[in-house]
Symmetry: C2
Subunit: 441 residues, 2 copies
């Protein structure tokens, strides 16, 4: 390489999408768009760049550290969005009157975080959020669960949606008389999976100030694992007792489960899990996580929940909502590991080889005919040895090739070669070739 | 608004996409994806952020000024991409061996330019590029023209693709013995539309050093407006004379036109226009611009051409190609002005009203049935007065509403109301309701 060349390279933590990955991702996004549309969610979009003040809102130090933030040419303090929730809040606060209520939107777009890069985690990734704003009903919580289920079903991902309701735990803490310790309790609970019961009991006693009886009652609650949702809700209600907030949580949870049954979501796709907390502040009712049944270890592929007031940072208006976010990249990695991701790097159904300059014009006509039939036709872009063109067809894994001599083309005929079996059908009219290809698609 | 609230606002030059615009844009993008796939182009994607050095390449001062450029948390000099051509060049240089040749890709993604904001021009906008790399044939130039035509036809945009070939003008300058003045001549020609022949002649004489005969010959060439492409090419060849590069240009142009005829592109969609230059350096052969026939004044909605070496900034390898870029935002603005853009702000085919808490579960089942039939069903998310729900249906312009009493639902029946005519069909089974909706879709 001569000295004056610039070395082509990527920033650390960023990636390119080569054809196979880009094609698979495009197909996933289109499937998700179709599912969202079937539930009558509408897309929106917001700018990648916003005032840092807007994006930081009441954000944490961690958010601040992860922000790609800079001064623009006009001296403004700007940053790249790090999620799609904050832009939604800003958007909802600005267009209250235009949007009306309820408002169901989805947003599929990249976000940027200056995180420490690690395997499978990038500094730019696509988020895929969907929310119902302006409705406080359990029915809308259930609709979000139904969207998650339909989306994953359409993508061919066996899954289990784990549901909880924050009001149940709040009710238990009220019954135990330790509502004031709820943040410390939540922090302790979050460690249950990793550190085990003994460690969590110690923390509940040392930090949250629960006595042994209180801790036992909490543990009993968290470890409810009745096989049916209604039995789990019943068991939880027993432990939570007569706290008003707790009873509300139980009835919301029951309503969500009833609705998901009405939606026809199979029981094995749902689970009540009282340990799911999903952060400290934001969620106020239903919360959920979703595991990929065949790869539970990769963690939740779709999480979310209900919040009381989306726009509180920007407006005095109250705007409740419920929503979830699909981790597209994590889901794609899972599909790849399960060998369910298309390995194709071209959308072509057929490659039309070009045997001579005289073949170009009739081959253009043939390609047009195939495209009009709904086929994706790769017209080889120049005259080259046939062997090279067929080698290329194998390389890009196109399933069929069309080969035709000038004589064949002059009478509107061609041959169709199956690139896998090697089988070749000769002297087909263009229409018959299109039919054969459509039948084997 | 209380003092502690942050005022929700956008950065100057940026815009939000509300549902109507986002839905229309999503539909346009999907149409384009389908067209690109039918020609067997594959998608790729690259990061929004790159090393500034990579993006600037051999860039101009203007590019530098328009760049959103900053130092990231790791002290790297980075910037947001300002087009999709430079990232393609970097990409092609890095993955030469993985991609093979030829390589046909498209890339639909946002780019950022810190331009002075003006009506219809934003600092963030979506570009939509498609290129064929690794083939130097006129056939691939014609394929790009065919993609432009198919894309605009699918989008319902009457258009005229204006084609030129830089080699013809170069040939004429060679014949006139003024090859050295080509940059000055191109600059003068660019002013022909705005300043008229006299001003251009003066500039040709003063700046480019052409004498009156030379200028006349050039003017004669530029003003060729034969109605048929082959007559125009013939007339141009006559003026250009026996220059080798000029003859090559004429034969390339003829091959492109022959191919577009084979593709079945109507003659009224094509025009030879010898005045099209498309910048000074980059393009080396075929160049094109595309006018929207009903709104020619908005300027070119799709431009491009052939280049000799895409990767020269990053590699010693030679990589010729041809491609074009659709200005999605300009095209969307045109469709809106022509009232061809969908005005709908929801994908919903029908709104299912909710009359009582008891109606929720059977309505979820109904919604599922409609969705399984391929319909987009908006389930109203909470119990509210029917009048309010129908008002909402009108507001979001959903064409039908389903209304059902608890009694109707309990026997699997519902009523279907046409929101435009007010006509209502009663006591339909869910299946019949789905059928009626599909038939009127």
């Amino acid at each position: 390489m001569s000295k004056s060349k610039i070395q082509p390279r990527l920033l650390k933590g960023f990636r390119d999408y080569l054809p196979q990955a880009a094609l698979a991702r495009e197909q996933m996004i289109r499937t998700l768009q179709d599912v969202f549309a079937s539930f009558a969610f509408t897309p929106i979009d917001t700018p990648a760049l916003e005032y840092a003040e807007i994006l930081l809102g009441k954000g944490s130090e961690e958010t601040d550290r992860q922000l790609f933030r800079f001064e623009d040419n006009g001296g403004r303090d700007v940053a790249l969005r790090f999620d799609l929730t904050v832009p939604l809040a800003r958007f909802a606060a600005m267009y209250t009157n235009d949007l009306g209520s309820p408002f169901k939107r989805y947003h599929i777009a990249p976000v940027w975080r200056a995180e420490k890069p690690q395997r499978g985690r990038f500094r730019e990734f696509i988020q895929c959020d969907f929310d119902i704003l302006g409705a406080a009903s359990a029915q809308s919580d259930a609709e979000i669960v139904a969207v998650i289920h339909s989306a994953l079903e359409e993508l061919g991902v066996a899954h289990k949606i784990r549901i909880n309701n924050r009001k149940l735990l709040n009710g238990l803490l009220e019954t135990l008389g330790v509502s004031g310790s709820s943040a410390a309790v939540l922090r302790a609970i979050d460690k249950l999976d990793k550190q085990g019961e003994e460690a969590v009991r110690r923390e509940l006693s040392d930090t949250a100030g629960l006595d042994s009886d209180q801790a036992s009652r909490l543990m009993e609650f968290l470890q409810i694992s009745e096989s049916s949702p209604s039995a789990a809700i019943e068991a939880a209600s027993q432990i939570v007792g007569r706290s008003e907030i707790g009873m509300l949580g139980a009835s919301e949870m029951k309503a969500v489960i009833d609705n998901t049954e009405a939606y026809g979501i199979p029981a094995e796709c749902l689970e009540i899990d009282l340990r799911i907390a999903r952060g400290l502040d934001y969620y106020t009712g239903t919360v959920f996580e979703t595991l990929c049944s065949e790869l539970p270890d990769i963690g939740s592929i779709c999480s979310g929940g209900r919040y009381d007031n989306l726009v509180e940072v920007y407006s005095n208006r109250q705007l409740p909502g419920v929503g979830a976010s699909i981790g597209l990249d994590r889901l794609m990695a899972a599909l790849e590991e399960l060998e369910k991701l298309s390995a194709r790097s071209t959308p072509a159904d057929v490659l039309i080889t070009i045997g001579s300059e005289a073949a170009v014009a009739p081959s253009c006509a043939l390609a047009s005919k195939l495209r009009q039939s709904g086929l994706n036709a790769y017209l080889y872009p120049e005259v080259k040895k046939l062997a090279n063109q067929l080698k290329f067809a194998n390389r890009i894994e196109v399933p069929f090739a069309i080969i035709a001599s000038d004589e064949q083309l002059s009478v509107g005929k061609c041959s169709l070669k199956d690139m896998q079996s090697g089988e070749q059908l000769d002297d087909l009219t263009f229409d018959i070739a299109a039919e054969k290809l459509l039948a084997r698609r």
